[in-house]
Each structure stands twice: as C-alpha cells, then as structure tokens.
Amino acid sequence: MDSRSKPFGSGARLVWRRQRALWWVFLFNLALALIGTRTLVQDASGVLNHSLESSRRLVHGFDVSVFTELGALPEDPFRATNAPFFWTPILFTIFMLFMTGGILTTYYDDLKLDTASFFESCGRHFWRFLRLLIYFGIAMIPIGILASICGKVYNHIDDLSVSPYTAPASGVAAILVLLLLLLSVRFWFDIAQVIAIADYEKRMHKALRLSAKLVWRDFGSLFWLYLRISVVAWLVFAFGLYVWMMWLKPESTRLAFVVSQLLILWWLGTRLWQRASGIEWYKDHQELQAVAEARAPIPPPAPVEEEEEVVVGA
C-alpha cells in the first residue's frame, strides 16, 4: 500500500525538482495572453489613460457598465481584440501538445535534459500525441452525448418540478458525474502518453490499449490520485479568486496582477502535478511488475547428463 500512496507526494516533488518546465510553460502562456490582449490594451488606453472618467469609475472601484459603455463607442476597443484573444489559446494548445513529450521525458528520466534532447523528445512525440488527441476527441463523443442527455433531463425536471432545487441538484450531480468521467478519460490518456515515453511505444492505439488495461486493473488508486490533486487545485484556486476579488483594494493593480498570475501558475502546476504523479504511478507499476516477475516460480532445470568426474591426483 505504501508504494500506491506515494505518487501524490512524489509527483509534487518531481514538479518542484523539474520546475524549469513549469516556468517556461507559464511564461509562454503569459506572453501569448499579453499578445492576445495587446490590441485591447492599446485601443482602450487611448480612451482611458488621459480621461478623468476612467479613474472615477475603474480605479477606486469597478463599475461594470464601463464595459458596455466602451463597447458602445464607435471606436469599440473590444472589437479589435476579439480575434487574437481567441486564437492565442489555440496557439497555446498546440504549444502544449508539442512540449508534452519533452516535459514527460524530463519527468520520467528525472533529469535536466539539455535543450537538444528536450526538443528532440518534443519533436519525436508531437505526431504521436496529436494522434492521441484525435483519439481523445473520439472518446469525448459519448461523454458529449451523455452531457446532451443530461441537459435535456435537466430541462425536463426543471419544467416539471415545483421545487426550484430539484433541477439544480440533479444538474450538479450530473456535472459531477461528467467531470469524474472526464477525469477518468484524462488519466487513461495521460498514462498512454507515459507508456509512449517510457516504453518507446510508437503505436498510440497500442499505448491506449495497454493504458486501458492498467487503468482498469488499478482504477481506484489512479482515480483517487487524480481526484485529490483536482480537489486541491480547485480549492486553492477558489481561495485565490476570493482573495483577488474580495480582499485586495481596488487600487492595487500590481498586487492584483501578482495574485492573478500566481493563480495561473498554480493551475498550470497542478496539471503538471497530475502528469508527474501519473509517471510516478507508472514507475511504481513497473517496479511491482519487476518484483512480480522476480518472484515468479523458476521452472526446474532440464535434466542434464552427469559429466565424468575427473579425479585429480588419483
């Protein structure tokens, strides 16, 4: 049982030890977001920076009607920002698809890879993980159908029930089930990625099959591992949002920036924590398998003919 509970902590330690990956991803995410919001900032700056109105309504509080008002201006600063705001997340997704191979190799080997080795690993696994992403999309279809059914059931319950609580309660239950299903699919694919890294498996459908076998055999421990990290992630995230929204002074824009970025860093870190824990879990599995193989009964040796005894010095 010891070996089964270890990945939670060892995964976190692994992310901490190899935190360079986390920082790079975070900085890339931030850089893309800054690029994506650059047009907005530029255009809105032209409206806000030299206006007494902006400090009246945005600095010492946050008057939400400012958004409507800015959007209604002929020079609408929000219009220009729409496109980059939405394509930068797509760019980040592609970036993460590329980086995952390198990050997982770093975690699996628990070594500081040189740049060439890191990107070599990224490149080697990019197309494999892209194929996995396609499989992931296929796996999402039944969950999507289930979500759609849940939506219809929710509407039906909401329509019929006199109590306003029945539908939301069932809705929350459905969302929880869907989230847990999503979590399960996620760690199934995460382990498939680990198998691709650890066993040099090129065939992703085979990696998925192996992963499915492993996950099925030890579903509880992996589920509990991912669930715990998710819960911790959400709790801290929610607390951080609370601090940002409720505690910080409206004028503290710098501190607000720090808190918001800490939240993003934390969120990213917990995702990598799940990946690192998955690797640790898989290593444990490999160890267990090795031990099991070592303990397997050795077949009796085949009978051999007795050699003629040589008597020395007779």
Partner: protein, 681 residues
C-alpha cells in the same frame, strides 16, 4: 414592464414554429359553472347586480371619470389551462357624440403564429424572446368570444368583425369591433354581455401558466379608448403594452379550493362551492385593468405600510424556494411607497400585491397591473445583485405612471416606462446608494443611472422617444430609447433644473393628470410651467429628435511662450516661465447643448468657461506661469446624455491604473482559456 434587468437568468420561455396554423378554439361555455357561482356568491353574476359591500364602496367619491364598469365571472380549469367566463360591461358614452361602433381588445389571440405580435417577434424579438426561436404549441393562446349581446339590442355575435387598424394583417385577431343597430347617445350608457373562453399559453409575455402557477393578465375582452376624437384600439404588438379607460371591476373567480389567489382588487368575500371549487369575489375601482394569479404553492407574506392616504395592505405571494427574497421585496416596496408619497403624491389604493413567479415562469415577471405587480428573483439570488429590488421598485412605480397617470402605452411608451425609469434611478439611489443601486460587490459595482444610460448607447439614433412603440426599428432600440434614453434625458434635466425643481415638476404632473390620459406634450408643458423656462430647444433634440450628444476635449497642451529659447533644466527651471495653454473643445454630435469647460493648472488654479456649444469647436487660450494639468467638459457631470463621457476630459499625465486593471482581467481570462483548451492535449 421591465425589459432589461441585467444578469437576470431569464429562461427563454417562448418558441415559434412557422408551420403552425391557426386553430380556432372550441366554443365551450361555462354554463355548468354559473349556477354554482350564483349560489355561492348569493347573486346572479350574469345580471351584474353589485353585492352590498361593493355598493357601499362605490358610494365614495370616485377618483376617476369612470367610463367602464366590468362585471366578470370566470372559472379556471387548471388541468386544461382554460378559463370560461362571462362578462358584463357597462360603457358610459362620455365622448360627446353618438357612438355606434365599438372596438374591443382580445390580447390573448396574439399568441398564435400568424398574429402581428408573432410576426414582429420573428422580425426583431421581444422581451425574453429572440427572433430566431421556434414556435412551440405550448405557447398557443386564444381568447374567443362565443356570445355577444347588447342590452336592448339582442344577440350581435354575428356582427363581430376582426379588424387590423395598424397593419392590415388579416390573420391577426387581437381586435374586433361591433357596429350596433342604433347609436348610443352622448351621456347614455350601453351594456355589453359576453361569454368567452381563454386558452392560456405557457407563460409568455407577461401571462400564462407554468405547472400549477397561473398569471392571468389581459385576459378578458376590453373595450378601446375614445381618445383624440377617435377610437384608440391598437392590435397587440411585440413591443406594445396597454391602454384603457378607468372604471370599476367586480370579478368572481372560481378556482379549485387548494388555490391561493391574488388579484388587483379588494377581496370582498370567498365561498366554497359544492363541486370542490371556491369563489373569490373582488372589487376594484378607479383602475383600468384587472389581473389575477393563482397557485397552490404560494406563501402569502403579509405586511402593511401607512402613508398620507392611509394604510396599504401588502401581500407578497412567494413561489417555492424564494422565501429569502421576501424581506428584500418588502423593504424595497415600503421604501418606494414612502418615496412616492413624499416626492410625487399619495398612493390612494388600500392594497398592493407582489406576485413572485416560480422558476421557469419568469416570463410572467416584471409586469405592472393596477394594484398588482409581478416581480422576479431566484433561489440563489445574491444580495449584491439587486434584481428583486429594482424590479419591485420599477413595477410599483407604474402604479403612478400607467396606473394613475394613464398614458397611452401603445403610442407614447416613454411616458410610462421612461418617466418610471427616471424615478427608478432616483429612488434606487436614495435607497441603495447611487453607485451601488444595481450591483454591489467588493469587486464590481453598478449604479442604476449608469445601467439606464448605457442601455440606449447601442442604438442611440434610430428612433425618437415619441415614436409609436411598434414602429421602432427593433426591440433593442425600443427598450434602449423608451427606458434608457428617456431616463437619461430626464436625469440630465434633473441636473440642469435642480433636483428640487424636477421633483416639483413630477409632483405637479401627477396632480394635474392622475386618473386621466395625458399626452407627451402635457408632460413637457408641465416641465416648462413649473420650471418657468422655455425648454423647446432641449425637447426638440432630446425628445423629438435623434441627435447624438458628444462633446470632447479635442486637443489640450501647454507650450512655453518663448518656445524658441532653449529649455531650462529641471533644476534651474524658472518659476516665472510663461506658458501658453490651448484647450480645444469639439462638438462631435448634432445635439447642441451649452457646456461648461474647466481647465486646471499645475499651480492649483483653474478656469471655468461657459460655451453655448453651437459652433463645431471652440479654443480657449491662456497665458500663465503654470502648465495645464487637465481640461474637462461638463465638470459637474450634468449632461448624462453625452454619449462618450471618456472623451469629456483630458489629463496631461497618463493614469494607467484603469487600463492595468482591465489588462489584468483580460490576461487572466486569456491564460485561463488557454489552459482549459490545453487540458485536452
């Protein structure tokens, strides 16, 4: 009616399907119900003899010129969602001329796919319903008059004729007229007897059912108004509301015994019937409409308030799950009653009922009827989101602006919705603070003033306030201009004339025109009379025009007078250095308005200029031993009609705190979205 509650989780309750045909409803009568009713009520409702209690109450001096006297007996079938009813209407001909043709509204017929209402919904949507929604049979409604008699003239059912005075859509059945065999002489009365059947839609546009909840509004054949020397009886449109004459209502409602009933009238009596139903008898006078509601799930929260006209009984009919909103409703209602009593005039009725629609029935919410209003909340409504408060305040305000000052909502919607929205801003600010009257969280705030102001900014120049409600370019323009722009026009006027003077205006307008049907000109003349000012220049642009008001500080800078000489370093800078400061103000829009301009210098001094605003631009020049710090048009922020308040000022030094705040949010949102998407890899 409130159409623009921010962030209210409204559920789309109405869908339209093109291929649905008009099906005339069956001609069922309530013959079986009438004997029971007569026995229970102790009189024959169809004969229209008033009960003793009512007769006593009508002895009071009428507050209004009572043109109509309705006597209705209605039986609700909750399973079939139908109402079978009989109506006796006595109409006093006060038109000053003989009348032979009478038009009647049948509002519920609007909820049919080929009606004018639905055609307009399909064109530009309406409250809670977008134009691309599909028709759903559950939203079918109808109102069928199965028998039409005129006392002394016999059965005229065959003479009923549907008319379409607004758009000639022959598939619209929301107005019918009857030409009598002989005219009704001036000063004489005529009595109409009708039997009709309503098929209620699932809640849509203020009326209908949801599960076992019923909100029954605009449900009986209602005669038009003789106004401006002609009949005023418009079809029911997607953006229009109602218009009717004052009078009395005696209504018997027969419902299952488990129902809790609320209505826009005094409850005169109740009686259990042998068939498991119960009869509620209501009386109401000096009102122009009667609506009611029934649900077995209501909790009736009772309270009272006493004002200058006496005690007012408060009933809040709460739907399951919404108990937490009860104190919020009551607090706001009492606050609004007090402020209206102090600022505008007495509330003369002895009751007010607030109907809280159940979840899924919010399409019935946010509506006004005489002495009965519908509110809107949800079980999860956070305290900082003042939706229950603002809806109750607004709908109660309609007791004055529509209820008593009964303007024509079809033709001059700004007079009820706009004036009401203006006072809503004032009263919400008085009760909950000007900056936090709509939204009050540590991280976000919004005042009702800003909410109203911004609501008209998206379509500010399509329609004037005075356009007929159904002739607006679209629902957005109708809502933004009728509510938001009117409120902003009056708030600007409030700043220009002074709060006290404007309060006098509203008080005077109420006193002059309560229980009548005033026009927009009556209102504008009252403003001029009370203020003693000729404000036509303002009304022509703000009320009758579509001009955009936008003044900006176009350019502002300080320059050394001896600019050709080398500039001294900061250390050796001369206190006596003379600067020439230019401030250019630009009128960007067509709306001409006198404005103040304040110029502030770095020695702490300032100059205030007054510009008549007529030319396209003006430049002010100063020579001082000080440099410009800021320049601002309308520094007192009186002119709220200004479309863009951000360009009203210019500061030499940048203040990036606002943009940093926005960037923080935007960056965080972008990063978060990125990570959500990357979760799939």
């Amino acid at each position: 009616m409130l159409t623009h509650e921010p962030s209210l989780p409204r559920r789309l309750a109405m869908t339209i399907r093109r291929n649905f045909g008009f099906v005339p409803c069956s001609m069922m009568l309530l013959a079986a119900a009438l004997p029971c009713l007569a026995a229970a009520a102790g009189r024959n409702a169809a004969q229209g003899a008033p009960p003793a209690a009512m007769a006593a109450s009508t002895e009071k001096k009428p507050l209004s010129t009572r043109v109509v006297a309705y006597n209705i007996t209605a039986k609700l079938d909750p399973q079939k969602h139908t109402i079978d009813a009989s109506e006796t209407l006595t109409y006093r001909n006060l038109t000053g001329q003989p009348q032979q043709t009478f038009p009647f509204h049948l509002y519920l017929n609007a909820f049919q796919p080929q009606s004018t209402f639905m055609t307009e919904v399909r064109l530009y949507g309406t409250r809670g319903t977008s134009s691309d929604t599909d028709w759903d049979n559950k939203h079918y409604g109808s109102e069928t008059v199965t028998r039409f008699e005129v006392e002394g003239m016999g059965d005229l059912t065959d003479k009923m004729q549907f008319i379409q005075p607004d758009d000639h859509n022959t598939n619209d059945y929301t107005v019918f007229q009857v030409t009598l065999p002989k005219p009704v002489a001036p000063g004489a009365s005529v009595t109409f007897r009708m039997e009709f059947k309503d098929v209620m839609p699932e809640v849509v546009e203020r009326t209908g059912y949801k599960r076992d909840f019923f909100m029954v509004g605009q449900w009986f054949p209602k005669v038009g108004v003789w106004w401006k020397n002609q009949w005023n009886c418009h079809q029911f449109h997607a953006t229009t509301e109602f218009f009717a004459d004052f009078g009395t209502f005696d209504v018997n409602l027969i419902v299952p015994q488990n129902e809790v009933v609320g209505a826009g009238g005094d409850l005169i009596g109740t009686a259990n019937n042998s068939d498991g139903t119960k009869t509620f008898t209501f009386h109401s006078e000096d009102v122009h409409d009667f609506s009611w509601t029934a649900s077995p799930d209501y909790t009736d929260v009772e309270d009272s308030w006493t004002g200058s006209a006496g005690e007012v009984k408060i009933h809040v009919l709460l739907s399951p799950g919404n108990m937490a909103s009860a104190p919020r409703y009551v607090k706001t209602l009492k606050g609004t009653l007090s402020l209206y009593d102090q600022w505008i005039g007495p509330y003369p009725y002895d009751r007010i009922t607030v109907v809280d629609p159940p979840h899924g029935g919010i399409a019935a919410g946010g509506m006004e009827y005489p002495t009965l209003i519908t509110a809107g909340t949800a079980w999860f409504m956070p305290k900082g989101l003042r939706i229950p408060e603002v809806v109750v305040e607004h709908e109660f305000g309609h007791q004055y602006w529509y209820g008593m000052v009964a303007t024509n909502e079809f033709e001059e919607a700004w007079l009820d919705e706009g004036i009401n929205s203006y006072l809503e801003v004032k009263m919400m600010a008085a009760m909950y603070g000007p900056q936090t009257s709509m939204l009050n969280f540590p991280f976000a705030q919004e005042g009702d003033l800003e909410s109203q102001r911004t609501s008209y900014l998206s379509d500010p120049d399509y329609d004037p306030l005075t356009r007929f409600a159904w002739q607006f370019v679209g629902n957005n323009s109708y809502g933004g201009v009728t509510y938001g722009k009117t409120a902003t026009v009056l708030l600007t006027l409030d700043n220009l004339l002074g709060e006290e003077k404007m309060r006098e205006v509203m008080h005077e307008y109420f006193l002059r025109y309560r229980f009548t049907h005033p026009t927009g000109e009556d209102f504008l003349k009252t403003i001029e009379d009370v203020s003693g000012q000729n404000l036509r220049w303002y009304f022509d642009q703000a009320v009758y025009g579509t001009n955009i008001l936008d003044y900006e500080i176009d350019k502002a800078d300080s320059d050394r007078v001896n600019w050709w000489e080398p500039e001294k370093s900061a250390k050796t800078s001369d206190k006596h250095q003379l600067y020439r400061t230019y401030v250019r103000v630009h009128r960007k829009g067509d709306f001409i308005m006198p404005v103040d301009v304040k110029v502030t210098f770095d020695d702490g001094s300032s100059a205030v200029e007054h510009w008549d605003g007529r030319d396209r631009w003006i430049r002010y020049t100063y020579e001082k031993n000080a440099q410009l710090v800021s320049a601002e048009v309308d520094p007192a922020r009186k002119i709220l009609l200004d479309r863009n308040l951000f360009n009203n000022s210019y500061t030499v030094d940048e203040d990036k705190r606002a943009i940093h705040k926005l960037r923080n949010i935007w960056t965080f949102a972008s990063e978060w979205l990125s990570q959500l998407l990357a979760w799939f890899t």
